[in-house]
Symmetry: D3
Subunit: 193 residues, 6 copies
């Protein structure tokens, strides 16, 4: 068993080439390999589908900013008690929003966070998708429209909440541990070089 | 708006070739196009990732039979109040298990279904993943091992529950309607030709 | 122990005459003896009271059709995880409504079922009675009136939900098994003779 | 509308003879007419079935004392937030058990009440029937047997909890008000004559 | 271990002087020593802070009557399943409100109690504080204002619910038993001398 | 209305002397005035009782370290969705435990945190006190004893959870905002001077 997870983690050298390439790319960008890459790599087909889905939702154009998408991830993951995703995506909220306080606020109680009413409506819909999706009805879409969200935005919000709800369950099942680096990212301004 | 979903459904002809090919293949096999293909096709990248993930979990080798995987889908989807997935995958439970009663039993209360103690343990773990994944611990894996499940099987159970938990939320958000054909599939023996 | 229930089932011949007569009548009508008759017969006084109550609610005149009453039973029984009642009364929904799809829809998530807004309001009240009866107040009756239900109809809805809530608990306690015949009833059109 | 209920209460004189006889009998015994008789009398067939069921469960022989049956009623009714039944049957707990404190203890938290471990196991089963009947399994019966309860006693416990669960929902729906007399019954010793 | 609590109760003589004085005063007023004084006295600093807080909330001036404050205590304590506080403060509701029925009504279901709409709004806010305080927002204060409560009254309501929520948890942890005297207080009119 | 809270905050100069002294002392120690002091100061008697209680629980001797006491606060406050207490006491967990990661772990899911089995048992008891105190029984104390906790430690754990449960409700009601300083405290090692 590895410290990163309840499951063994494969060595980098034995991974397929496309997965090594993806891991190398993220390492160059972030400066370290987020553990989710190392843990999921043991199942290459699931790894590929997971990150293809991730990219389709998180790197597409649309009415949600990158910071807003990460807020959805943090609020959803907190509701699902997922240690990995709250810590890792909290770092991204801080970085994209250039706000060192926001991730902790959203994780504990987004209703009290320093966000706009539009963002609060976005998170209300994400949480309804997370907790009571069988009760979603036309009134939920109407409320989002009042805040300027299109129906395509509604799909994005729900799909991000649904995808990370899956990710939360995988991380909880595998006892996936967030990298220590995430905790401090975006909290302190980097000194100018 | 289409009868299949709250969202518009693209016409077959405007879809990318690989998606048309996938839809054609399933239509040839099933005799109709399950609505999930029609509804998700409006977002090709998400379509591709969704079915790649689906296939990676549902068509791989491993300790779970095809019927058992579909039982996990039905029990999870019932807990998430997902009309589409209970009806569509209920049909698959009946077909794979050659049992016209089992899907309804698993959907209402798997604890009372005609399944083995091993299968009940499998569904207990799937439901814990669905409802309280933050409380999964070593004792859950130990109980699965007592029933002959390896840790790889545990991953499969949890991953199927997690993936269809995502699917349930998407279907509920999009008000995806199951095809009428699913309701009767596997309920009546096919006459010999 | 009998396959029908956790409790032993008495032989038909040792039953009191009025109970034998009731069972004979239902057998002639349905073509088989629904297990609830066989299982409850071991306690004749409770049997008599149970079916007297059943008939008083389900065979009286009033603003609810027979199919609507059975929808209340199915939605309530699904909320209470009662295998027997969902399967047996699902058959009655299909037959009375002449709709092979409706019972499964109501059992999984009545909010997404092919029912009228009036019927949805009816089921909302039945479910509130089932799950949060202590919070029923004047506003619930007002909403029913907007949909054309009288206060007598409201009593009927709540009483049916309450009676079958009792039935669900008895069936779950006794591990009562639905007859195999129920699963297929009303799903396939009967051929003309 | 009557002060006894959200629904109108019929005058005694217009009631069928058998219902008048039952009401007269209870009035002679109790010194007043408990409101449940007055409120349910508006629907004679339901009245008859209700009290026939009540008597079949509460006045039969068996392993539960009259006081224990009423404890089941009070604990169940408190869980269902039913004002009428907690107050009316609390009086009966005090009288049958000759204990002026017990009813309030059972209503607030039976785990802390002055009852035996056997009675606590009885109430645990009643509450499981009330709140999670779909999860009842063989281990529940085994635990009852350890405390000396037969399987017939188990049926009695569950049936009383189920019947009063129905009664609680009816009383909450009808806004049934307990008679003022119940509150003080059994609290003060009656002076010797 | 003492009959009053899971924890040992110190003898009166070994208590600090100020605590003895407080206990003597309450005994002279009530005619007996409420067990909460005896049980908490084993930790003098906590005793002093507890009763200082109690007095600051319950004996201050403001828009809530003494009887209303005790209603908040009873409704909160019932929601928290606290035997001690429901029984002891139920007595105070009866005495302050000169109403022998009200405490039992509020304990079982305050929505059905003989209270004013203003008092019902007060208890709705107390219960929201007790059960979902993270969702309190401006609309809760607006609703209280519609019923004539100032924002200082809102603080009082929430602070009483919060303080007794603490008290409920301490009493439940310590298995604190209410004095038998409380059960009957305020139920019977005292005869004129 | 102040940015610190939904309620107005008094100016320092108008506060009573003892409260000014307490505030001055904490400011000298921490380098800033934590907002809880500023917000509660508007009600001097409640302020005094609150901090007397706080000190009685948090600054006494006993079997719990200062860091462990703060872990109880963070886990409890996360369960109660209290933004102020998770952020402010998270800082104290980091400082006392000299661990920059621990507070976030305990806030999201203490079961996955880097704590000892003994500390996990401590937090299980704190959370049971927070969420289901009416079900605490002898087995909970027995489990604590297995981990080396005395019954006095059990009281401490429960009393801290209960006191901060009160504090969480007050902070949520008053919309109390944590000082920005707390977010970063204990996350970065201070450079040697």
């Amino acid at each position: 068993m590895s410290a990163l997870s309840r499951f063994p983690v494969p060595s980098f050298d034995e991974l397929p080439g496309d997965i090594r390439a993806r891991i190398t790319a993220v390492q160059e960008k972030a400066g370290f390999v987020p553990n989710v890459f190392a843990v999921l790599a043991r199942r290459p087909d699931e790894f590929r589908a997971f990150f293809a889905y991730h990219d389709a939702l998180m790197e597409k154009a649309g009415g949600l900013s990158k910071g807003e998408r990460e807020m959805i991830v943090v609020a959803t993951s907190a509701a699902n008690d997922c240690h990995y995703c709250v810590v890792a995506h909290g770092a991204l909220v801080r970085i994209y929003e250039k706000n060192p306080l926001l991730a902790d606020q959203v994780a504990v109680n987004y209703r009290k966070a320093d966000i706009t009413p539009r963002q609060c409506a976005m998170l209300d819909f994400a949480l309804k998708t997370t907790q009571r999706s069988g009760e979603i009805d036309e009134s939920d879409f109407a409320r989002l429209r009042e805040h300027g969200f299109s129906d395509e935005d509604a799909w994005d919000i729900a799909a991000i909440a649904a995808f990370f709800g899956m990710s939360n369950r995988l991380a909880n099942m595998a006892a996936m541990r967030p990298n220590d680096e995430f905790y401090l990212m975006g909290r302190v301004p980097r000194p100018p070089r």
